[in-house]
Symmetry: C2
Subunit: 445 residues, 2 copies
């Protein structure tokens, strides 16, 4: 069985902890079995592995999330990246083409697609196993998970059950994001929420994908990604399928994509350097900054602070944040990369419009940044912890705590951490952007 985890999302609703390259599924806020904290995607992968499903996991995502996935999940999963953000139908089609053409999976193999940002428990994966069995046994071409509704939501899609066949129902019709009154009627008539979990044979989806591309291999198909319509899997596949069944699911299922919902599952009122006084009730603080945060006497708040910004929101109004954040259009101030993490600590524009940007970089032991150069900036690296190997215009040398390296425009440079490396980097130039980079191959010995 192949399990495709969809990892998308712009993450604006959980600003300032999430940003465009660090979506909500990467926030390490959920209590993990070892007593620490894990992210939504780490939790989903861990649960899938513990479930006994014996599924090969493929994560379908955008190129800008690849580094965060590698950093959080490590090996043992496939990663398929869209060359551009489209919608769930093209993303699932691309992942299936990858499984068929790159991984040589057979057309009869059962594929289950699931989102990675739903808060569930192990029963959810038991249900996924049943959906796969139903496809395996030919009960339907497409089986989807029907969540027993908790309330008449206007944010979800609904699927109406038809005839019953064991634990399954046939699917009689779909309604996407109804008005509140229609939602109440749908629930009264027995409709389920569409949980975005789909099971089908690989060949079923490949046949649909083949309507758009005849590329001879996966990489060619990926190049032609623009041929796929920007449309959801629900509209393009589920609603058009001839044989669709629904497996009802009554277990734990939470959408924790908003601060009020997320605060209910993180298990404590404070994460990070923060104090809530005894007079403040039902208030949560998540502080990812080094500086302390104190909340005095204020109730029903979510406070979230990160290098990107500070949010103070009434818990029951916190979804209103999205339009304000969209107006910012600022660079991410924190990112998790395959080589480690960086945090922007100072961002200064001088009177003549040249700029400086100061970062605290942490390169993890054994990891390296690519051999690269920049055309618009100098960089000054001050090494404050660890040891590493520096390559500067082809010259290799050891560097470590106390060293200072001045990298000028156009100089080729790479660094590999022998032990965890902490570097204060001051960038200076007229254009300071992650896109000002030219990468080269470098063979570390």
């Amino acid at each position: 069985m192949q399990l495709i985890l969809l990892s998308g999302g712009s993450g604006k609703r959980l600003w300032p902890l999430s940003n465009d390259s660090y979506s909500k599924q990467f926030l390490r806020l959920l209590p993990s079995p070892d007593g620490g904290r894990e992210s939504m995607i780490q939790r989903a992968v861990r649960q899938a592995r513990e479930s006994g499903l014996d599924a090969q996991i493929t994560i379908a995502t955008g190129e800008n999330q690849r580094d965060a996935i590698v950093s959080q999940i490590g090996g043992g999963v496939n990663i398929v990246t869209e060359p551009e953000r489209r919608d769930t139908f093209p993303a699932i089609a691309l992942a299936c083409l990858y499984l068929g053409m790159e991984k040589k999976c057979g057309p009869d193999e059962v594929v289950v697609v699931m989102p990675c940002d739903t808060y569930t428990d192990i029963q959810y994966f038991t249900a996924i196993g049943k959906m796969a069995d139903a496809v395996e046994n030919g009960l339907a071409e497409l089986v989807l998970m029907g969540i027993c509704p908790h309330y008449p939501s206007v944010k979800y899609g609904y699927v109406m059950p038809g005839e019953r066949n064991g634990e399954l129902f046939s699917a009689k019709g779909f309604t996407e994001k109804p008005e509140i009154e229609r939602a109440k009627e749908l629930i009264a008539e027995g409709a389920f929420w569409n949980g975005g979990v789909f099971a089908f044979r690989l060949g079923y989806m490949l046949a649909i994908a083949r309507q758009y591309t005849n590329a001879p291999d996966f990489w060619k198909a990926r190049e032609e990604y623009g041929v796929f319509p920007k449309i959801s899997f629900d509209y393009q596949v589920a609603e058009k399928a001839e044989s669709v069944a629904v497996l009802p699911f009554k277990g734990m299922w939470k959408d924790i994509g908003t601060w009020d919902a997320l605060s209910e599952v993180i298990g404590s009122n404070v994460i990070g350097n923060a104090i809530i006084d005894e007079h403040a009730r039902n208030t949560h603080i998540i502080n990812q900054l080094d500086i302390p945060c104190i909340c005095i006497g204020a109730n029903n708040l979510v406070v979230a602070a990160s290098p990107d910004g500070i949010l103070i929101a009434d818990k029951y109004n916190c979804e209103q944040v999205k339009p304000y954040v969209s107006a910012f259009e600022v660079r991410p101030m924190y990112e998790e990369r395959r080589w480690g993490t960086y945090k922007v600590i100072d961002n200064y524009t001088s009177s003549d419009s040249t700029r400086s940007l100061t970062k605290h970089l942490c390169i993890a032991e054994g990891r390296s940044i690519s051999y690269q150069r920049h055309f618009h900036r100098d960089e000054v690296w001050t090494f404050v912890e660890g040891s590493g190997i520096l390559v500067l215009d082809g010259q290799v040398r050891n560097v470590g705590k106390g060293d200072v390296v001045h990298i000028t425009k156009g100089q080729m440079h790479a660094i590999k951490a022998v032990t965890d490396l902490h570097i204060l980097e001051v960038q200076m130039g007229d254009f300071l952007d992650e896109s000002d980079i030219e990468r080269f191959e470098y063979k570390w010995e």
Copy 2:
């Protein structure tokens, strides 16, 4: 006439914008006549100068506030610093010894002492002029300002008026910080708040100071500062004086030493990079960080963010912050010095307990830092704006944008800004503290 402004205070109530070296009177939050913002002490000095009192101004303060005063007030005022923090009686005695012995003021000259952190208008200075006239005309040895109480406060001292003489009353008795019921009685009986404004002849106070020190000059007296008892001027002088009069004052008088009071006079709901959505009522944000702050749907809050920390407080509970802040015991993350300002942007302790501290320094045009060396840290300076003159172990050279200077332990260094200089400074060492500094004379050409 000599006007002594008392500038003290630990500033914990206005955390995180104020700290031990940057007390509340230095926060540039009050609307100024030029449309910008000024601090409490800037406002007091400006009002005193505009009042037509023709007073020479002396600021009595602690050594740790000298730089902020020089930076905010510039020249034209005397600054007398206590060698250690004691109380208002010793501070006023020291300032009077300075006026008598260093400034050679005569014993008949009238001195008025006032706090610098009261929010008032020009009428307050008119009243100060009347107090000085009353002393000048021999109506009393000591005249104090009696504020007509706004409510039965338990935080202030009360003075009971006796016999009336023109606009003045004799003072019949003092009550310091009464219980609420007693405060109500006092007000019913006609008591005033003691506004902490006192007028007397210099000789009157010098005679009292001479009970503790016979030092032949001011600097010797300052060395002996410990001989003065730690006691307030009210207890030591006002309550013991034989001839005390009170001048009632009904004009504007606000104690803006707490967030709720301060927020009422700053004239806007937002200062800095912040957004308050339309659903949030009676909420104020003061954001001194570069990152944005968004408040959604939360009412009656004060939000204050600075490099020292973040406060979210219900406006009517915000005084509770003091004990929490006292528990921190952290270094100031922002300071205003005579040469400019610095902001701590990163504070990192490595696994082997060595540390790095990164600052953004701004040295104002024409200003310089002293010739100095450190014994426990290296410093790496990356110049991101401006030009200056660097002295490094006696060698003088020009430096400016794009330069990098590595100053190792023990190296003597000084810098003078030719134009405003912005420097990213990375400190590295086993002990990173402002006290690790040895200063030397340097004659700039």
